[in-house]
Every structure is written in structure tokens, then in C-alpha cells.
């Protein structure tokens, strides 16, 4: 109960600041918190990355193994994306099977990687119709201070860049780097007090749940969109968010290239 009151006070503070044209942490509306990417920290995984956006931390691990292709894509590798919002990451996360939020998180990250064709799935065929590489992208949120979506998407593509196909382990020749040919970047905006702010922190998320995530590829094409939250989005705001997402994704992609 006391926590609810604190939340309400924080919420009022967030809103009153926004009305003055400011954010509680002093950021501009179109400014991300500092982003840090570390790769290869889990030796047992085929690829891994830790991404920090401000205090938010997400680890993504990539595991690969040979398996059966889908019947409608017999000559393509398979991507399986899963997200776990473990109770360690937030006082509001509970153990148990994935809820709608973690499913949505995983599916939006998956869409960005799949639709940008970041992984060249044609090169992951071992024997057509019988055996292909399965790529498991496991998202592990470890500290949720807002915007898990962008942190997860960034950690996923960073981990893929760091992935080596474990061919030797399965008697399929020498290990080789996973063929990654695009850099999809997800940008999440929060619509609050009729304003658009990027990279919401937890206090801002507690004040509004009106999200929209737009993922773009290296050519500024839009590859995935998810409007999330029970709100009505005007056409003008939608266009504003598209431009903002393209611009921010370009900046983040520069960081990715340095990894």
C-alpha cells in the first residue's frame, strides 16, 4: 500500500515535469540513457551480450543445435525467441510460465530480427528438409528500470553478432561465425501528456503505459511495429514516432558497429 502511494507521488512528479517540458532525469525527450554493450560474457553459449540502458540490464544468450526445419521452409534455419522476466529483475515480476508481457517482448524482438532478415537462414541449412540449424535467442532480463524492449532487442542482435555456429561439436566441420547481414534496432517511445519521449525509465512507465516500438533496418526500412497499451494514437503522433525511431536507430546502430 505504502508503495502505491510512493508510486502515485512519483507519477505526479513525472507528469508535472513533463508539463514544464522536462524529464525527471534531465534528459531531452528524444534522448536515450547511456547505452553499454558487452559481448561474449557467457562462454558456454554460442553467443551472448549484456546490454545496459541506464540501470536497465538484459542478458541475451544464443544457443544453437541441429534440428528439423519447418515443413514450409525446408531449406532454412529456424529462429526461436524466448523471454524470461525473472523475479530477480523487479519486485513486480513473479516466477511461473511467461505472461503476456514476456511473450509480447519476445515476439517483438523476434519480429525485428526475422523480418530484417538479419540472420541469413538460407546458410543455416544442413540437409534440405531434414536438418537445419536451430537458433535459440533467450532473453534474460536482470534489472528492469524501464524499456526492457529496446535493451532486449539490442542485446539480441549484439549476441547474434558475437555468435559462432558450433559445427565441430556436432561433427559438421569447423565452427564459423553466424552469418548476420543486417542490424535491426528497436526504438520504443512512450506517449505521455500528449508528448513523445524515447527510452522511458521505470518511473515514466509507471506514469503511462502507452508504448509504441518501431524497429528499422540498416536502410531505414521499417521492419516491425508494435503499439502496446490501451490508448488511441493519432496520425500526427504516429508520423512523429516513425521519424524519431529512424533517427534514434541510426545513432544506436553506430554503437553496434563498434562492438
Amino acid at each position: 500500500m505504502s508503495e502505491d502511494i510512493v508510486l502515485d507521488i512519483r507519477k505526479d512528479y513525472v507528469l508535472s515535469k513533463l508539463r514544464e517540458g522536462e524529464r525527471i532525469d534531465g534528459r531531452k525527450f528524444n534522448e536515450y540513457r547511456p547505452i553499454e554493450i558487452r559481448t561474449g560474457l557467457i562462454e558456454k553459449a554460442e553467443g551472448s551480450a549484456l546490454v545496459k540502458i541506464g540501470n536497465t540490464q538484459v542478458i541475451v544468450g544464443i544457443k544453437m543445435q541441429p534440428g528439423e526445419p519447418f515443413p514450409d521452409t525446408p531449406d532454412k534455419g529456424v529462429i526461436i525467441t524466448n523471454a524470461e522476466l525473472v523475479p530477480l529483475a523487479s519486485p513486480t515480476f513473479e516466477p511461473g510460465p511467461p505472461d503476456e508481457n514476456s511473450i509480447e517482448l519476445a515476439r517483438v524482438v523476434d519480429r525485428g530480427i526475422r523480418e530484417s532478415e538479419a540472420i541469413d537462414l538460407n546458410k543455416l541449412c544442413i540437409e534440405e528438409g531434414k536438418k537445419v540449424w536451430l537458433v535459440f535467442i533467450d532473453i534474460h532480463a536482470i534489472d528492469d528500470d524501464g524499456n526492457l524492449m529496446d535493451a532486449s532487442a539490442l542485446a539480441a542482435i549484439s549476441a547474434l553478432l558475437n555468435t559462432r555456429v558450433p559445427a565441430e561439436k556436432f561433427g559438421l566441420g569447423d565452427d564459423y561465425p553466424l552469418p548476420v547481414r543486417d542490424l535491426p534496432v528497436a526504438v520504443t517511445s512512450l506517449i505521455i501528456e500528449d508528448k513523445v519521449i524515447v527510452d522511458p525509465c521505470k518511473d515514466e512507465e509507471n506514469a503511462s503505459k502507452n508504448f509504441i516500438t518501431i524497429t528499422t533496418d540498416s536502410n531505414d526500412n521499417i521492419v516491425a511495429i508494435q503499439k502496446s497499451g490501451s490508448y488511441l494514437l493519432t496520425e500526427e503522433k504516429f508520423y512523429e514516432v516513425i521519424d524519431l525511431s529512424i533517427e534514434k536507430a541510426r545513432e544506436i546502430r553506430k554503437l553496434l558497429k563498434e562492438v
Binding site: 515443413p71 514450409d72 525446408p74 511467461p98 503476456e100 511473450i103 509480447e104 519476445a106 515476439r107 519480429r111 526475422r114 523480418e115 530484417s116 509504441i212 533496418d217 531505414d220 526500412n221 521499417i222 521492419v223 516491425a224 511495429i225 508494435q226 503499439k227 502496446s228 497499451g229 490501451s230 490508448y231 488511441l232 494514437l233 493519432t234 496520425e235 504516429f238 508520423y239 516513425i242 521519424d243 529512424i246
Partner: protein
């Protein structure tokens, strides 16, 4: 895999020939739509809807008491939405029960309806919307939302306006309204929209998802195409509701 599928994948079969789609529709033309309100006896509101080969039925229960009670909200109604596909609704039998796709669709669909339902009028109550997909053929989430919206009106749930939903796909470089299964599967992008419509005017976007690859200008064009399609659906939804009540009045006068 059927040999026809292989040919399509290799680009040997075209989805657009001489500026027309395989089913003869123009790019901005909807599939045939059939809507009937008040089809279920037990539900407080219901609707049967066909959109091309999609056949869906929606039921609304409530506003009613929420169970379990700890889910109650002291200041507004709780809206629940369940999108469920029948095992026989698709080519390969679907395992019964919610999968990850259904859970995501239920979430975004619920959020679209929540934005227009006047929840503040029903504190501590629950409004349950159940939609069963009896047959699916691309755009089932849009068909379900259209049906749910009519069922909510049929149940007398106060709303700020209607929700009308339609998807736009990109197929062989062209934007097409209300794609079929083939167009969705072999196309380059799929963009389901739902709009908040009031007094015959589109006010804003209630649902928006997208996967595929489009440029910004294509996306803007898709939005305009979807708006036009949604207005047509809105008129049919209104007709379905009107005709339901005209019949009821006639019965009472007998």
C-alpha cells in the same frame, strides 16, 4: 509441401496479374463481409462475422462480477479478451488452447477495445469478450475485433465509438487491402490496423502492428488505404446492429 507452394516461393506463380489480385479484387477492395448481431442466446451480446473465408463468432458477458475477486478494480471495469482458434480452423490441426500468438493477439486486441469502452462507469465489474475463430484465412485478428466491437454494442456496453479493423499487406511491391492467406504468406509485409471511429469519422489508431519490410512512405500510404477500408467495415457494422434492433421491434409489435 504442395507443388503450387514451391512454385510460388520460386516466384513462378504471381499473386498479382494485370493489376488484379488472384481473387479478382482491386488493390483497395475488401473481401466480402457478412455480419450478424445477436446470434447467441446465453451471451449478453454476440456477433457472427465473415470476412472472406474467415468465420468468427464473438460473445460478450458483462458488465458482471469479476472472479477471482482480487482482480477487481475499485475505480473501473476490468476488460478481458480471449482470442481462440478452433483446432479445425486452419489447414494443419491447431493444438487446442492458447499459444504464444493467441496470447499476444488477445493482449493487443483487448488494449484496442479498452481504449473505447467506458470502463469508468462500471467499477469492480468485469467485461469479458470471447472470440472464437471457426475458420481462419489471414486477418483473423481484424475479423475478431470487428465482431467483438459489434458484440459489445449488442451487449449495451457504453463505448466512445466503434472499433473497425483491417490489414494492409505489401505484395510484389504493391499495397493491398485485406490480404488473403496467400498474400499474407508470400507477401513482403503485413500491417493490421484498428481504428477508433465516431460519427462516421476516423479519430485515431487503436491497434497497430507490423511485420515485414516497408518504407516510411509505404507505411503512410498503407494507413490511408486501411482508413478507407475501415470506414466501409464501420458502415456494415452499423447496419448489422440496426437490422438486429429493427427485427426485435417488429417482434414486439406482433
Amino acid at each position: 509441401m504442395a507443388s503450387e507452394d514451391v512454385k510460388r516461393l520460386k516466384g513462378e506463380i504471381k499473386l498479382i496479374v494485370d493489376g488484379k489480385r488472384l481473387d479478382g479484387r482491386a488493390f483497395d477492395e475488401l473481401r466480402p463481409i457478412k455480419i450478424e448481431a445477436g446470434v447467441l442466446k446465453r451471451a449478453d451480446g454476440s456477433c457472427y462475422l465473415e470476412m472472406g473465408k474467415n468465420k468468427v463468432v464473438a460473445a460478450v458477458y458483462g458488465p458482471r462480477e469479476v472472479h477471482p475477486r482480487h482482480l477487481q478494480d475499485p475505480i473501473k471495469a476490468v476488460v478481458r479478451y480471449r482470442y481462440n482458434m478452433a483446432p479445425f480452423s486452419v489447414e494443419e490441426r491447431k493444438r487446442p488452447g492458447p499459444d504464444r500468438r493467441s496470447i499476444e493477439i488477445s493482449k493487443v486486441s483487448r488494449e484496442a477495445l479498452e481504449a473505447v469502452i467506458m470502463k469508468e462507469l462500471f467499477p469492480r465489474c468485469g467485461i469479458d469478450v470471447f472470440v472464437e475463430v471457426l475458420q481462419a484465412d489471414a486477418g483473423s485478428r481484424t475479423a475478431c475485433l470487428n465482431a467483438a466491437s459489434v458484440a459489445l454494442v449488442d451487449a449495451g456496453v457504453p463505448m466512445r465509438g466503434m472499433i473497425s479493423s483491417v490489414a494492409v499487406a505489401k505484395v510484389e511491391g504493391h499495397l493491398v487491402l485485406d490480404p488473403t492467406k496467400e498474400e499474407d504468406f508470400y507477401g513482403e509485409a503485413d500491417i493490421p490496423f484498428a481504428f477508433f471511429i465516431r460519427n462516421d469519422k476516423i479519430e485515431s489508431i487503436a491497434l497497430l502492428q507490423m511485420d515485414g519490410r516497408v518504407t516510411k512512405s509505404e507505411l503512410m500510404e498503407a494507413l490511408q488505404m486501411a482508413k478507407k477500408g475501415a470506414l466501409e467495415i464501420y458502415r456494415m457494422q452499423k447496419e448489422a446492429i440496426k437490422s438486429r434492433y429493427i427485427i426485435e421491434e417488429a417482434d414486439e409489435n406482433e
